[in-house]
């Protein structure tokens, strides 16, 4: 175990990749919801 204080890791790539996943979920949810609203 190191006694040095841990530096903040760089998580930019992680943020972008989960951002894409989140955006994909949001967009597909609204597409399915639009289909539901549009149909009788």
């Amino acid at each position: 175990m190191s006694k040095k204080k841990e530096k903040n890791p760089n998580l930019k790539g992680t943020l972008y990749s989960v951002g894409f996943v989140g955006l994909f979920i949001l967009v597909s949810w609204f597409m399915a919801f639009y289909l539901f609203i549009d149909r009788f």
């Binding site: 890791p9 998580l11 992680t14 951002g19 989140g22 949810w29 919801f33 149909r39 009788f40």
Partner: protein
Amino acid sequence: MHIHKYEKWWLTFGISSLVLFLFIVGFSAFHYGSHPPTGKVYIDPERVDEIVPFNNPGVHKVEGKEWDYEVVLVASAFYYNPPEIEVPLGSTVKFIATTKDVVHGFQIVGTNINMILEPGYVSEYVTTVDKSGEFLILCNEYCGIGHSTMTSMLKVVE
């Protein structure tokens, strides 16, 4: 507890999407009253042909209700009665359906109408038909040897 800045962003994004989804679903459920087809009405599956309204299947115009037409439908192996449904464009229609023998499905392709018909239960769905054309009705619960031929047609005419 230390949480990374980006993790906080992600948590905010995730939780607010969840709240948004639940709000939209809750709003349509409680404000617009959208719900699955009801199965609250019980009838004797052996006497379907004698029980109102199933003693007279077909498309009926009604007055003084929230809907303009009632489509009374009886499913049995392997056909629907009436075999064809015709309603005018823009009318509000209530589908009232049950089955005489085994479990059948009632799906109108390309619409939100998709009900399971169980012996002894009445399934209902109210909708306003706002698109004209012919819509295939089919059974989507495996009901026996003739399952694949069990179809009908909804015609929305101008």
